[in-house]
């Protein structure tokens, strides 16, 4: 953060974005985290690493993903011109694989033989199991029991891909507890295990490296928008769980003053009910899972349970770089409730022929507020972070439909 004329220089050498971030982990993990940092720094200087990664992103993941003009959504709202960044078309159906591919190459560079990960919606778990299968590494995925129940198709996918899915029964049995359990596994198996964290959170260098692997989303968007419209977009919109799909879209544009950015947190039943997952809008700074950031917590510093219809957003924290971008005001953070997301989910299905992930539907939901009043030449890009096939049971249930 020494260069004042850029928002893109973070984190500093100690892993901080302003006061956020850091390395709040047990001593057992410290040597490994320092080693990971070194391995990551050296990979950045290695042109072969970059070439291998971009080859895999092209031929295995199927990048680049389209930047698609959503004509009928645009018509529907009658205002700004709406584009969808189609991360749902990636192999495995979400942006998560961009990061997994980068991290597994790093794991192999460090000589690790076993991969672990946490998952909420199962998208990160599936992406991790996929890259582990592709490279022949052993893989264990921690998943809360509640999430196993609401994301059954993804659980079976992971198993087909050869991963062991370990149900987590502690705490709220969702993403936060899966993260705790993955950290416990890591502490126990430090020597041979690599932890692929699924979002821009955790101890330094994870928030930085996950962001860097997701930046491909924003970099492509910039090129594609220049090609299609001859200029930069005006507004970027993305949902926020831990914040990786949003960060990947936003970061390459942070220094473009004309580009407005909006992150959409999950408001669950509504912020005022206390049952939500909006850590910026409804939380306070604290320390969890290796970093300082905004958290849902009580006045004693005990972490409270998040709620969202979307398993991938059901997390009481947010990546530290978002916490910083929030405080300095560069990015605006709003929220959408379960029912607003469900509405937007159905609208996108019917108008665009695209079933979006419930997570991404939170970003779509904000169009209702944003798009109608904007001029027709205003360019909005929404990160359609994943496809919604995994969510059809949850949606059917919420709509009272028996399958």
């Amino acid at each position: 953060m020494t260069q004042l004329n850029t928002f893109r220089a973070g984190p500093d050498e100690t892993g901080h974005f302003g006061i956020y971030g850091g390395q709040f982990v047990a001593e057992t993990l410290m040597p490994l985290i320092l080693e990971l940092n070194e391995a990551y720094e050296s990979s950045k200087k290695d042109p072969e690493f970059a070439a291998q990664l971009s080859g895999l992103l092209k031929h295995f993941v199927g990048r680049e993903s389209p930047l698609y003009f959503a004509e009928r959504l645009t018509e529907h709202y009658g205002g700004a011109k709406i584009y969808l960044k189609r991360e749902d078309l990636n192999h495995t159906g979400a942006h998560k694989i961009n990061n997994c591919m980068g991290q597994i190459l790093l794991a192999m560079r460090m000589g690790k033989k076993r991969i672990i990960a946490e998952t909420g919606a199962g998208q990160h778990g599936v992406a991790t199991a996929t890259v582990a299968a592709r490279f022949g590494l052993k893989c264990a995925i921690y998943m809360g029991e509640t999430d196993i129940e609401r994301q059954k198709p993804n659980v079976f996918r992971m198993k087909l891909l050869g991963a062991e899915v370990i149900p987590v029964t502690s705490g709220s049995r969702t993403l936060k507890d899966a993260l705790n359990e993955a950290l416990r596994d890591w502490v126990t198996n430090v020597a041979d295990t690599f932890y692929i964290i699924g979002t821009v959170a955790g101890p330094h260098p994870y928030p930085e490296l996950v962001r860097d692997f997701q930046n491909v989303i924003g970099e492509e968007t910039r090129r594609q928008m220049m090609a299609q419209e001859g200029r930069l977009p005006d507004t970027l919109l993305a949902c926020i769980g831990g914040g990786s799909n949003a960060m990947g879209l936003f970061h390459p544009f942070l220094d473009d003053d004309s580009v407005e950015m909006i992150g959409v947190e999950a408001a669950g039943h509504g912020i005022e009910t206390g049952q939500h997952a909006a850590s910026l809008n409804g939380g306070t700074p604290g320390i969890l899972h290796g970093n300082r950031t905004y958290l849902l917590q009580d006045e004693d510093g005990q972490i409270t349970e998040a709620h969202s219809i979307s398993a991938g957003l059901d997390y009481p924290g947010i990546g530290p770089e978002h916490a910083w971008l929030n405080d300095i005001g560069r990015v605006k953070y709003v929220n959408a409730t379960d029912s607003e997301a469900l509405e937007a989910f159905q609208l996108c299905c019917k108008l665009e022929g695209i079933i979006p992930a419930l997570e991404s539907a939170h970003a779509l939901a904000h169009l209702e507020t944003l798009a109608p009043s904007l001029p027709k030449d205003h360019l909005i890009v929404i990160n359609l972070s994943g496809r919604g096939d995994k969510d059809i049971f949850t949606v059917a249930d919420a709509l009272g439909v028996e399958l």
Partner: protein, 272 residues
């Protein structure tokens, strides 16, 4: 820095020629009153140092037994404030036994570091172990705590190699807590001969007394550790007694009985 009860206790035990029995129990588990009875009973059961666990919803370095203990305490209404009250209640009748507060950083951060240090000193806390504050985060709490006159006790683990060890020791005081295996609390104990090798390596750099923990469940195991270390730490085995108790009284009795058995094991080992 001025001497704490911890420094004095280790000096006295050294003169006596035996190792310290370091006990860990969770504050407020199963409830405030029973927990106070446990803490008050521990010195008579042979505890030389009491680590008081600060309950936290997300104890990422703890195994199931201590996770459950924390959740029981939270369900019974424990907070950082009530934990400090427990310690000051204990101090009303014991001004001698060192108390180490052990936990995770977030409840302390939420309380506010300055008010926490002030209130912890007032309550009679002697040292802190904060699991998720490695040396890299010393500015947060370690340095202010040392300035305030508290010991800041650090964990060393099998991953703490010779390169890492000086960093771990730099701002630590009181004693060094050697966690004998890479894992969460409650994991199985390693062979004492492996621990002895590790301690020999660490002693080349560390001048502090070294207490060894993780996986000690019986008097016999504790005696083996007492032979090679300056202290043996027992937590999970004690905390499990609370879950096994048929009621509060039974839980307290079981815990103190096990403590007495382990203490006897440690005291059977004479070193000079």
């Amino acid at each position: 820095m001025s001497e704490t009860r911890i420094d004095r206790r280790f000096a006295a035990l050294k003169a006596e020629g035996r190792a310290a029995f370091v006990t860990y129990v969770m504050a407020g588990d199963p409830n405030y009153d029973a927990s106070l009875e446990v803490v008050k009973g521990l010195p008579a059961a042979g505890a030389d140092i009491i680590e008081v666990g600060l309950p936290f919803t997300d104890p990422m370095a703890d195994g199931p037994a201590i996770q459950q203990a924390g959740l029981r305490a939270l369900a019974a209404g424990a907070t950082l404030r009530s934990t400090l009250k427990l310690i000051s209640d204990f101090r009303k009748t014991d001004d001698d036994t060192p108390i180490v507060l052990m936990g995770y950083y977030n409840p302390i951060y939420a309380y506010g570091v300055d008010s926490f240090l002030e209130d912890a000193l007032k309550a009679g806390v002697d040292g802190l172990i904060v699991v998720d504050l490695p040396s890299e985060e010393d500015e947060e709490l370690c340095i202010p705590a040392l300035k305030a006159g508290l010991n800041f006790i650090r964990l060393a683990t099998p991953t703490t190699d010779d390169h890492r060890l000086p960093t771990v020791l730099a701002n630590s005081s009181g004693f060094l807590y050697y966690v004998s295996i890479a894992g969460t609390t409650g994991a199985a104990a390693p062979k004492p001969s492996d621990v002895a090798v590790a301690l020999e390596r660490i002693r080349k750099t560390a001048k502090l007394p070294i207490a060894v923990g993780f996986g000690i469940r019986t008097g016999a195991q504790a005696a083996e550790i007492a032979r090679i270390a300056d202290g043996a730490v027992v937590g999970t085995a004690l905390v499990e007694q609370i879950a096994l108790g048929t009621d509060d009284q039974d839980a307290v009795k079981r815990l103190l009985a096990l403590a007495t058995e382990i203490s006897d094991g440690i005291k059977s080992v004479r070193k000079n």
